[in-house]
């Protein structure tokens, strides 16, 4: 059975915006999936539904065999802990340092304090931010904030890693490093779903590509390239 399943999912925002329109898709454990589509196509909405920031108006989302619309309120945090998320707008806690922001993902699962420091430091090193650990988000450049968000998403070794535009603020060299990191993580068994506009990365990696347009699934290729014309 697939790890993630969307059955005829439709998401509408008030007043009358259909962000996702009857989308059905299956993603298996260990897959690496690119989510592409023009601005406003529904990529972020797809991701929001995954970790239940939003619930669909119609259709079903099954993750690990459970319908997430049916999760009890107390179970939602458990779902989210198993999903590492890189938000398009970073969503770092403004009054905590980079270190604390990354550590927070470990704290919520009550990791032993002795473990926290080395694991956070490793994650920060992986994204090249070791020398910014003591700084606050507003003291970072755009790319550095993005990398901090990535570090927070991976520190917990989640089963699923969802990244919304994780290279949007990064130069090509750093982007390359981050992509190598994501591939590495994927190789170790984590399912990776990444929304992106970076056609060069998509084209060079030849992974599965899911293309959205106007909220509809228009293409789903095993080893696809960038592009979303139906």
């Amino acid at each position: 059975m697939s790890l993630i399943q969307f059955f005829n999912v439709t998401k509408q925002y008030p007043p009358n915006i259909t962000a996702l329109d009857d989308v059905s898709v299956k993603i298996d454990k260990g897959e690496f999936v690119f989510l592409v589509g023009p601005s406003g196509a529904g990529k972020t909405t797809f991701i929001r539904l995954l970790f239940r920031e939003e619930v669909p108006n119609r259709g079903q989302i099954i993750i690990g065999g459970r319908s997430i619309s049916r999760l009890k309120r107390k179970e939602v945090p458990l779902l989210r802990r198993n999903i590492g998320i890189v938000f398009q707008d970073f969503r770092l806690l403004p009054d905590r340092t980079v270190f604390e922001n990354v550590a927070f993902a470990l704290r919520v699962v009550e990791t032993h304090p002795r473990e926290i420091k080395p694991r956070v430091e490793k994650a920060l090193a992986q994204v090249g931010l070791s020398n910014r650990a003591r700084m606050f988000p507003h003291q970072l450049s755009g790319g550095e904030q993005q990398r901090a968000a990535i570090a927070r998403a991976i520190v917990n070794n989640p089963g699923i890693l969802v990244a919304d535009e994780p290279t949007g603020n990064l130069d090509p060299a750093t982007s390359g490093d981050i992509m190598k990191l994501l591939e590495e993580i994927n190789r170790l068994g984590t399912t990776v779903i990444m929304a992106t506009h970076a056609w060069d990365i998509v084209n060079s990696m030849r992974k599965r590509v899911i293309a959205l347009q106007h909220g509809r699934l228009v293409r789903d290729d095993r080893e696809g390239g960038y592009g979303y014309e139906a």
């Binding site: 970790f51 920031e53 309120r73 107390k74 945090p77 458990l78 779902l79 989210r80 802990r81 999903i83 998320i85 938000f87 969503r91 770092l92 806690l93 403004p94 009054d95 905590r96 927070f104 993902a105 704290r107 919520v108 699962v109 009550e110 032993h112 304090p113 927070r152």
Partner: protein, 295 residues
């Protein structure tokens, strides 16, 4: 919750207060002002009540004996009255003393006795105090029933009037305290709500990263508790010192204004302030983040 997580919560709450230091101070100041007002009025009302009690228990019964009762009988009646339940003090005022007082009042000491041809027309009378001002009427009636007592007088009208005023004052005091208490409560809750409101995004982010509600709540609860504790601590200190100051200032001059000098009351009411403030702060904080947790 593991124990080490508790340590993390404490540090987190402290850090958070410190990083939003400006906001924390504003909120704590708000708590302090509200609680100070409440505390000051609490003491004021206690004191007014105390003074009123004082006034009431100063009320005396005057029991005039029959004019022709011999002194021996007067003394006997005094003993009888003293034995009545609720009576605390009985003084016999002999007719000689009565006449003297009367003469003084008119400013013509000698003339009065002279004018009556050396005959003292007054009766002996008893001045009676009772323990409980509310029982004054029943005591008065019991005294009146004793043979040899001509008339009992406790200024019925004035006493009724005084009691009415005191009753009114008590209600007023309860009303004021209730009003101020409610006001302080709402002000603290509103303040903490505003402080939490400015951090609503933060709460959202925590939820998105997989924190349980209680994991988010704890540091906020502690923050609220400390804000309340600090604010009401300052208020309690101000009330305490302020009251001591008032006692010292009014002190010598205030034979007429018998303030409560009982350290116990002062201590308990300041402790009450601190406990109340902390509780309201903590609960207000919990209550305020509720709506932001629903994501």
């Amino acid at each position: 919750m593991k124990l080490r997580t508790a340590g993390y919560f404490f540090r987190q709450a402290a850090l958070s207060l410190w990083r939003n230091v400006w906001m924390s101070l504003a909120a704590a100041a708000s708590v302090a002002i509200s609680m100070f007002l409440l505390g000051a009025f609490l003491l004021l009302v206690f004191n007014v009540n105390h003074i009123a009690n004082n006034l009431q228990s100063n009320v005396e019964i005057a029991a005039f004996l029959q004019v022709d009762v011999p002194r021996q009988v007067s003394l006997h009646i005094q003993d009888q009255v003293r034995a009545l339940p609720g009576v605390t003090e009985v003084t016999l005022v002999p007719k000689e003393e009565g006449l003297q007082q009367l003469s003084q009042q008119f400013g013509s000491e000698q003339d009065l006795l002279a004018a009556t041809g050396g005959v003292n027309p007054l009766p002996d009378y008893l001045r009676v105090r009772v323990a409980d001002p509310q029982s004054i009427q029943s005591v008065a009636e019991a005294i009146k029933a004793i043979p040899g007592v001509e008339k009992v007088n406790y200024g019925q009208e004035v006493v009724e009037r005084l009691f009415a005023v005191v009753r009114w004052l008590r209600w007023l005091g309860v009303g004021i305290i209730a009003m101020l208490g409610l006001g302080a409560l709402s002000l603290i809750v509103l303040t903490i709500r505003l402080a939490v409101y400015s951090r609503r995004r933060e709460i959202n982010i925590m939820k998105y990263v997989g924190a349980t509600d209680w994991f988010i709540r704890w540091p906020f609860f502690l923050e609220g508790l400390w804000l309340g504790l600090f604010g009401s601590g300052v208020a309690a200190l101000a009330v305490y010192l302020g009251y001591r100051l008032v006692l010292n200032m009014v002190g010598p001059a205030a034979v007429f204004v018998p303030l409560i000098r009982d350290q116990g009351l002062l201590l308990w009411s300041t402790l009450g302030l601190v406990a109340g403030g902390s509780l309201v702060g903590a609960l207000g904080s919990l209550f305020s983040i509720r709506r932001f947790l629903k994501v």
